[in-house]
């Protein structure tokens, strides 16, 4: 009964032992409660202090985006020290090429449009005048859970004349939401639904988790009877989607979304079934047929047709994605390339822009503050030089920057660069075991010839009828022909060359820069990783309904004055098997020698 003497004397009035135990227990209980309440109080205060600190840290990255006259607009968020900032397409589309941006330091900065993703409602701009902007640190939106706390920052109703952003707080109401393109082309896929207040002017502003990690861009809300103000259901474009587009946006492109060339439906028993497949598609050639069950797309499991739309919508056009399906023969894995959805040649106009009065379609909150009388724009020349209009581009100036970055590095590395007619003779053998393959390739300006195990194949660049390919190494000749063009550095070798953003290359499984070249009907995607000025691979599209010629390049080395890969990997045909060829010798010939024919 040692414990009982801890109970106050007035309570211990000679009652039973049981009574003593009861009070002991009550005392413990009271202690538990008080500890618990003290902890809770402490926790709340600590959390509040942490929140205040987080906001202090992230606030300088918030941008108030306005048109050149400093009127109307929305919000944005800085993503790098050199002034790149993300906003909504529907915020920047009315402003033109140049904008005024206010930061929480109270200062106004000039900004230029860089790239747009009209379908995904994303725009990239660049603020000028500093190289030490504060910027937001991205999180992982795939980890976002329903119920988690979030903060939205921006300039609702353009409240702050000193550009200090407004903070609204809420929870995640839903994840992986799909919002149809209501009366417009703007489509919100795989987005985050929040109950934080989102009002006109919040558009383009960032969503943060409670730790201050940037997880989305707030751009859309459900409005109905109550007018164009917060109704507790707003939608944020996920950071993981935006990240897949930033490389493209930085290249000054009008980035498109993709289609898969097949449709799906949810069956009654909750399976995703293929409904229709285009006979000209990658998917069809790889065996995908109506009725088969689709299991995963881009490595995400599918339980409904909406799931499929959600996955499809987060990738830029041209991305190659893995697909898994099941039919009577079992499981199948393949990759397919997304085809263009809209193929905009110019920045598309939003329907509501054309309306005189504030938008009738209230799905997109914008801060529109009345009519603005048009004054002649006063854009400084230094800013004007950052914008070049060109069909098919948002701002060609930025494409030129990135194209030259890739091409100039190549130029420095390749000795024959700029020689319009080098010719190479290359001998090779297959690297893997199996039937021995040996060959000799002659790559010249007029064509590519190959002798494979003494069998001749010839492709002419002048005669469209002469386009042979070896069934054992399909696509090798056409891709080698394109490689000669690239390494020759001949300005006339391609009708078009442009920087096409960044992609996650398959089968290399790493992020690479893409240089796109066109020559006749042949479109090449050259892949460059940061470690090397030389390409790590190329995919050549050369005819509709035929698989791309796909090569990987490894072990680049200088050989007899030519830079050439030591190994070439060929991903052949619909089965997508990768086979490596060892390049045994490379000989450079002068122009006249290139006239010699193959054996």
């Amino acid at each position: 009964m040692k414990g009982t003497n801890r109970i106050p004397a007035q309570v211990m009035s000679g009652r039973s032992v049981l009574r003593g135990w009861t009070y002991l227990l009550l005392a413990i209980l009271a202690m538990l409660f008080s500890i618990n309440s003290a902890n809770a109080q402490q926790t709340v205060l600590e959390r509040e202090a942490a929140r205040v600190e987080t906001l202090r840290r992230i606030t300088p990255s918030i941008v108030c985006v306005m048109d050149p006259k400093g009127q109307g607009g929305g919000s944005g968020v800085l993503i790098s020290a050199d002034g790149y900032a993300i906003s909504n397409y529907h915020v920047t589309s009315g402003a033109g090429a140049f904008m005024k941006c206010g930061l929480s330091d109270g200062k106004l900065y000039d900004a230029v449009i860089v790239g747009i993703d009209p379908t995904g409602d994303i725009a990239l701009i660049q603020l000028q005048g500093r190289t030490d902007f504060s910027f937001a640190i991205p999180g992982d939106s795939d980890q976002v859970q329903v119920g988690q706390e979030v903060m939205a920052l921006g300039n609702p109703f353009l409240l702050a004349s000193d550009f200090t952003p407004t903070v609204t707080y809420g929870i995640v109401s839903g994840v992986r939401r799909y919002q149809y393109p209501a009366n417009t082309f703007l489509e919100y896929t795989d987005c985050i639904q929040i109950d934080a207040s989102i009002n006109p002017g919040n558009s383009g502003g960032p969503l943060f988790d409670i730790e201050g990690r940037w997880i989305g861009i707030n751009g859309r809300a459900s409005f109905e009877k109550r007018g164009r103000v917060n109704s507790g259901a707003a939608y944020s474009i996920s950071i993981n989607q935006i990240q897949k587009f930033i490389g493209h946006l930085k290249c000054g492109l009008i980035v498109d979304h993709g289609v898969a060339d097949f449709t799906v439906e949810t069956s009654d028993n909750g399976e995703v079934r293929v409904a229709q497949v285009s006979a000209l598609s990658d998917a069809y050639r790889r065996g995908l047929r109506p009725g088969v069950q689709l299991l995963s797309f881009a490595d995400r499991l599918l339980t409904s047709a909406n799931d499929f739309q959600n996955v499809l919508g987060i990738f830029p056009d041209g991305t190659r994605l893995p697909l898994t399906w099941r039919d009577t023969d079992g499981l199948h894995n393949a990759t397919i390339r997304l085809r263009p959805l809209h193929a905009f040649q110019k920045a598309p106009e939003l329907p509501e822009e054309r309306q005189q009065k504030p938008p009738q379609d209230p799905e997109h909150p914008e801060g529109e503050e009345g009519e603005t009388d048009k004054k002649p724009d006063q854009i400084p020349d230094s800013l004007k030089s950052l914008f070049v209009a060109r069909d098919g581009f948002c701002n060609y100036h930025f494409n030129e920057l990135h194209r030259l970055r890739i091409v100039n590095a190549l130029k420095e590395r390749v000795a024959t660069f700029g020689d319009p007619a080098p010719a190479w003779v290359i001998t090779f053998a297959n690297a893997e075991s199996g039937p021995r393959l040996t060959g000799e390739l002659t790559i010249a300006a007029t064509g590519v010839g190959m002798s494979l195990n003494n069998k001749p194949f010839l492709q002419s660049t002048v005669d469209p009828q002469l386009q042979e390919e070896s069934p054992q190494l399909p696509g090798l000749l056409i891709a080698m022909n394109q490689l000669r063009r690239l390494l020759s550095g001949d300005a006339a070798a391609f009708t078009e060359q442009l920087a096409a953003g960044r992609t996650f290359q398959l089968p290399l499984k790493r992020e690479v820069d893409v240089l796109l070249t066109r020559e006749g009907v042949r479109t090449c995607r050259w892949y460059f990783d940061e470690a090397s000025a030389l390409p790590v691979g190329v995919d050549v599209e050369y005819a509709q309904g035929i698989d791309e010629a796909r090569l990987l390049f490894a072990d680049w080395e200088d050989r007899n004055g030519a830079v050439f890969p030591g190994r070439v990997g060929l991903i052949s045909g619909v089965r997508e098997e990768l086979r490596w060829l060892n390049i045994d010798s490379v000989t450079v010939r002068n122009s006249s020698a290139s006239e010699e024919k193959n054996p």
């Binding site: 988690q148 929870i171 507790g232």
Partner: protein, 390 residues
Amino acid sequence: MNMRRISTRTNTVRHQLPVRRQCSIFGWPGLEGEGPQPRGFLRSAQSSPGHPFVLIITLFLVSDICQAAQADFQSTADILKSRQQTIVKLFGAGGGNLDSYGTGTLVSAEGHVVTVWNHLVGTGYLTAITADGRKFAVDVVGTSAEHDLALLKLRTAPGDLFACIDLSKVIDTDPGTPVLAFSNMFHVATGNEPVSVVHGVIAARIPLEATQGRWKFPLKSPVWLIDAITNNSGAAGGLLTDTKGTPIGLIGREIRHAASRTWVNYAIPLTTLKPVIEALMSGKKFDSRPKDSEANTPMISDQELTAQFGLTMLPNVLERTPAWIDAVTKGSIAAKAELRRGDLIVMVDDAVITSVTDFQQQLARFRSGDRVSLTINREQQLLPVELLIP
């Protein structure tokens, strides 16, 4: 066939807990206040004589606290997921301002669903989609106009069981309680997608005087007012819980307060509805919806209609003369709304207009400055028109 889908009741419900503990999950503002329950309980326990009963209660409470403490660390996401499982997406017929979708809350493992007795319930071909994406036809078991409540039953196959809220565990609570509202507002979720959840705090417990068109909110006993926008399109019939997922209310309609004309966000306490739901489940019938008495209903006179609105209606010569527009005065409010001679007014907000008298009575329910949405029939097409009340 449906064996693998059998799910059980999820009884994570606990006794009333101090408000401050609940805040540690979310930490949203205004939660630092003292929770009065534990102290009050301790006092009453100490004043009672020593008795084994007290010991048992105490032991029980200690274990309860331990569990509650664990629940604090149990992921919020798990609580939300288990509650989202009890919500069904309802689909019926709508039109004009009336949504064709709604929300229901499962109250029995056999597939009983409660929702608000709104237009959706009366459409005759209601369907429900459960959280796992299965679709069911729905029968109306019973309704109570007084409680604005409808009890539905999914037409299930034998052996189907559903996750549901446990009516025996619903609790009463106080203003200041942080709450979660689960509903398929705006029809955001489709198929097997989880419904939306928003957070808020109970702002008040008051009798509600509110109207929706000509319809008056019938319940006389108090409801929960919530400080968040919980009552959106399609949200009626959703579930209000505390942050532990304990059911406390049924989300009501999109409705305006009678005096202020502002939208109110309310939920009917489940402690109020529980006996009604149980009565309906046992087959009891309540009075049907009371008829509006037309005699003393205020109305906008013909003269007022012409002078203030610029609307002249076809003369009321029949018992039920349709609400045809005979003339529109130039520059009037009616002209600004682009109303024309020959338009037939079929709806005012969400009330169907059966006669010109009906129309004049409906208009009288609004106040100056209100924007009323009319649905008109013009050349066999239904058009929405917004009219400003002068």
